[in-house]
C-alpha cells in the first residue's frame, strides 16, 4: 500500500507490544502497521483480546508499562516518532492533539469535580487560559455537543448526568484542544442504550463536518463499523488480518475471519427467514505462548498446511485493500459462487 505522506496524520510501523504476566509473556500486538489519514475515520475491529485497545493505547501511551512493553516498532504522528518522546512531551500531546473518549464515561470523569470545571481544566492546563475564559469555552463546547440546558449542566457533577450526556461531556472534553488532530474513541457507545448510541454516533459524524479531526474508532460491533468507518482494520489475536475501505470489508471481504464476523451478525440480511447462523466454531486462542503461523487457523474452514507454519505475507487486492491469508483466493472464489 502506498501512502502519500502529506495526507497521513499517523502511521504505525511494525508495532510489537507485549505484557509480562506471572504465567509468561503475552504478545498482545504483533507486527502491526496502520495509518490514519487527515480527516478520516479508521475503525479497528475485533473481539475481546484481539489487541485493538492495546494498539490504540500504544499511541498515547496509556498502556501500563510495566507490565506492558513496546518490543519494537515506530508510531509517527505528524512526522514525529511518539515512542521516542519524553513523558512530558507525550502528556502535552494528549491534551492538545491526541484526545481520547472511553467506553464508560463514569469511570473516565472525576466524580468530585463538575464536568464544566474538568473541561475548563484542559483549557487552563494546555492553553494558559484564566478560569472565567476557560468556563466560557467549556460552555461553547457543551453547545457544540448538543447537551440540553448547557448553562445548567456545566455545573453538574458526572453522576447527575445520564450515560448519554456523560459521553457527550467526554466528547466535549476531547474537543477542548486548540488543534484537534486525532480522537481515539475506545468503544464509545458500547455501554449505551441503542437509541442513545444512535445519537452519539450521529454527533460524532456531525462533528467531523465542523471540526478538522481524524477518528480512530475501536469497536467489536460491525454495526458501529458500518455506521462510522471510512476504512477498517480487522484484528485477530494481536494481528492485522485485513485492511480495506468500509464498503469492501462489508461487500468484498477476503479474510475468512472477516467473513465469519459478518456471518455471526444476526442482522446480516442473508438471515432473513433463516433457521441458524453460520457461526465460527471454536474460541479465540490464548495469546500466552501463541505459535507462529496464522492464529485463526484452528477455527478456519479454509486452513491448509502452511497456515500452521507461517503467518501470511500481505496480499494486495487493490490500492486500498489488503489481506493476510494464505488461502484468500479460495475464500474469494467460494464467496462469489
Amino acid at each position: 500500500m502506498e501512502i502519500k505522506d502529506k495526507d497521513v496524520l499517523l502511521s504505525m510501523e511494525n508495532l510489537n507490544f507485549s505484557f509480562t504476566t506471572q504465567r509468561g509473556v503475552v504478545k498482545a500486538v504483533r507486527e502491526l502497521s496502520l495509518y490514519i489519514k487527515k480527516g478520516e475515520t479508521l475503525t479497528l475491529v475485533g473481539e475481546s483480546g484481539c489487541g485493538k485497545s492495546v494498539t490504540a493505547h500504544a499511541i498515547n501511551q496509556l498502556n501500563p508499562m510495566p507490565p506492558g512493553k513496546v518490543e519494537s516498532g515506530k508510531i509517527f504522528f505528524n512526522g514525529v516518532d511518539l515512542l521516542t518522546l519524553k513523558k512530558s512531551e507525550i502528556e502535552a500531546l494528549r491534551g492538545t492533539q491526541i484526545s481520547m473518549i472511553f467506553q464508560e464515561p463514569m469511570t473516565a470523569l472525576n466524580p468530585v469535580f463538575t464536568v464544566g470545571s474538568q473541561i475548563a481544566d484542559v483549557f487552563m492546563t494546555h492553553q494558559n487560559m484564566g478560569k472565567k475564559e476557560a468556563m466560557e469555552k467549556a460552555l461553547e463546547l457543551f453547545r457544540l455537543v448538543k447537551i440540553p440546558a448547557p448553562e445548567r449542566r456545566i455545573h453538574a457533577y458526572p453522576h447527575q448526568l445520564s450515560g448519554g450526556m456523560r459521553q457527550r461531556a467526554m466528547i466535549a472534553m476531547a474537543l477542548a484542544s486548540p488543534e484537534p488532530g486525532l480522537m481515539i474513541a475506545d468503544e464509545p457507545t458500547t455501554a449505551l442504550d441503542v437509541t442513545i448510541q444512535a445519537q452519539i454516533l450521529d454527533l460524532l459524524q456531525d462533528l467531523k463536518q465542523h471540526v478538522d479531526m481524524s477518528i480512530l474508532l475501536i469497536t467489536h460491533d460491525m454495526g458501529v463499523v458500518a455506521e462510522m468507518a471510512d476504512r477498517v482494520v480487522v484484528m485477530y489475536a494481536g494481528r492485522k488480518v485485513e485492511e480495506a475501505d468500509a464498503i469492501s470489508i462489508f461487500h468484498n471481504p477476503y479474510h475468512p475471519y472477516t467473513l465469519g464476523l459478518l456471518n455471526s451478525l444476526p442482522s446480516n440480511p442473508k438471515y432473513k427467514g433463516a433457521k441458524r447462523l453460520e457461526a465460527i466454531q471454536g474460541t479465540v486462542p490464548d495469546l500466552l505462548g501463541i505459535k507462529e503461523g496464522c492464529p485463526f487457523a484452528n477455527r478456519c474452514e479454509y486452513q491448509s498446511d502452511e497456515c500452521a507454519v507461517s503467518f501470511p505475507q500481505e496480499k494486495v487486492i487493490d490500492e486500498t485493500h489488503s489481506v493476510w491469508c494464505h488461502n484468500y483466493d479460495k475464500v474469494n472464489r467460494e464467496r462469489s459462487m
Binding site: 475481546s48 441503542v194 437509541t195 460491525m222 458501529v224 474460541t283
Partner: protein
C-alpha cells in the same frame, strides 16, 4: 407454536421501594413492571426487547417468582404461582428455569462444573450419585462441552463455555419453560452466534418454550417467533415477528428500529436524530404515555393519560393514542 397458553400474566406489577441511605424511610417507588398482561404460548420463543430500565429482566424474574409480585397474577398451566407454598413451588422449579446474562457472576467459582450442573438433581434427589454423574456428562455433551472437563472450575473456561455450563444447568431437570435473560449479551459476536444456534437446536429437540429477553433488537429479531417491546415498565407493542418487523406502529418501536445500526456502509442514512432525549428514570416517569417527551407524534392527550394496549390487527397490540386514532 401452539394455541395452548403455557403462562398467562395478568396485570402484573412489581414495585421496588427505594430507601435513601441512612434512613429507614421509603422515599420513592420504582415501578419496574407496571401492569403487564401477556400470554406465553407453548413452543414459542417470545422475544422481549427494550432498553435499560424498561423492566424486561424484572418481568422475567417475577414470572418465575424469583421476585415476589406487588400485584397481579402469573398462571402456569392455569395455576397461580403466587398461591403455591414452598413445597409446591419447589416442584414448579423443575418446569421453569432461567439462563442468566453474566456467565461469570452466575456460576459459583468454588464449585466444580459437575456440581454446578448437577446441583438441581441433588436438590430434587433425582437418581443415584452415579446416575446423576451420567446425566451431567450427557448434559455437557448436549451443550457442546467435553465431559472430561467435569472436574474443572468455572474460571478454567472461556465466556462462551461458561454460558454453555449455565445452559446445561438450566436443562438438568428437563424444564418446559426457560427464561433467557440477556443470555448472549456478554459474549463476543462469534461466540454469540454459536450460543444462539445452540439455544435453537435445544428448543427444536426438546420443544422448549423460551422467553428471550434482550436489549439487542437484531438478536431478538433472529431468534424470536413473537416480539414484545417494553418501555419504562409497560408493554408498548406486541406482535408476531413478521408483523412487528414489517408493520410496527408504535413510535418507540420505530425509534428502536431506526436506531439499530445498519448492516452495510451503503445503507447509512440521515434522520437518526428523529428521536431525541434520554430514557427517563423509571423512578419518576413522565406523565401519561411515558414516551411522550421523546415522541415526535405526541399530542396533548399523550401527556395526560396512559394509552391502553389495544389490538390493531389480529394478534398485533399497541399502546399509543395516535396509532389508535383516539386523540380527542
Amino acid at each position: 407454536m401452539s394455541n395452548n397458553k403455557l403462562v398467562e400474566v395478568k396485570d402484573l406489577k412489581k414495585y421496588f421501594h427505594i430507601k435513601s441511605e441512612g434512613t429507614s424511610e421509603t422515599t420513592s417507588v420504582l415501578k419496574a413492571v407496571d401492569g403487564v398482561s401477556l400470554d406465553v404460548f407453548e413452543g414459542e420463543i417470545l422475544g422481549v426487547v427494550g432498553e435499560s430500565g424498561c423492566g424486561k429482566s424484572t418481568l422475567g424474574k417475577t414470572i418465575l417468582r424469583l421476585y415476589d409480585k406487588t400485584e397481579g397474577e402469573v398462571l402456569y398451566r392455569g395455576d397461580d404461582l403466587f398461591h403455591k407454598d414452598s413445597t409446591q413451588m419447589k416442584e414448579m422449579t423443575k418446569k421453569m428455569q432461567m439462563i442468566f446474562q453474566d456467565p461469570y457472576s452466575s456460576l459459583n467459582p468454588r464449585k466444580k462444573v459437575s456440581k454446578i450442573i448437577g446441583q438441581s438433581l441433588d436438590i430434587h434427589n433425582i437418581g443415584t450419585s452415579v446416575e446423576r454423574l451420567e446425566r451431567v456428562e450427557l448434559l455437557m455433551e448436549e451443550v457442546g462441552l467435553n465431559p472430561k472437563y467435569r472436574a474443572r472450575y468455572p474460571h478454567q473456561f472461556s465466556g462462551g463455555q461458561r454460558q454453555r455450563i449455565g445452559i446445561a444447568r438450566a436443562l438438568a431437570l428437563q424444564p418446559e419453560f426457560i427464561v433467557c435473560d440477556e443470555a448472549v449479551s456478554a459474549l463476543d459476536v462469534s461466540v454469540q452466534a454459536q450460543i444462539l444456534n445452540l439455544l435453537l437446536d435445544l428448543q427444536e429437540k426438546h420443544q422448549f418454550t423460551y422467553m428471550f429477553i434482550a436489549h439487542d433488537l437484531a438478536v431478538v429479531e433472529f431468534i424470536a417467533t413473537r416480539i414484545l417491546v417494553m418501555y419504562l415498565g409497560r408493554i408498548v407493542e406486541i406482535a408476531t415477528k413478521a408483523e412487528l418487523v414489517d408493520h410496527h406502529v408504535h413510535p418507540y418501536t420505530k425509534a428502536l428500529f431506526i436506531a439499530s445500526p445498519v448492516t452495510s456502509p451503503r445503507e447509512r442514512k440521515e434522520g437518526k436524530h428523529l428521536f431525541q432525549g434520554d430514557v427517563p428514570s423509571p423512578i419518576n416517569p413522565p406523565s401519561g404515555c411515558h414516551f411522550h417527551p421523546r415522541c415526535p407524534y405526541a399530542v396533548d392527550k399523550c401527556s395526560v393519560a396512559y394509552p391502553p394496549l389495544k389490538e390493531i390487527t389480529p394478534g398485533h397490540f399497541a399502546a399509543c393514542w395516535v396509532v389508535q386514532n383516539d386523540i380527542s
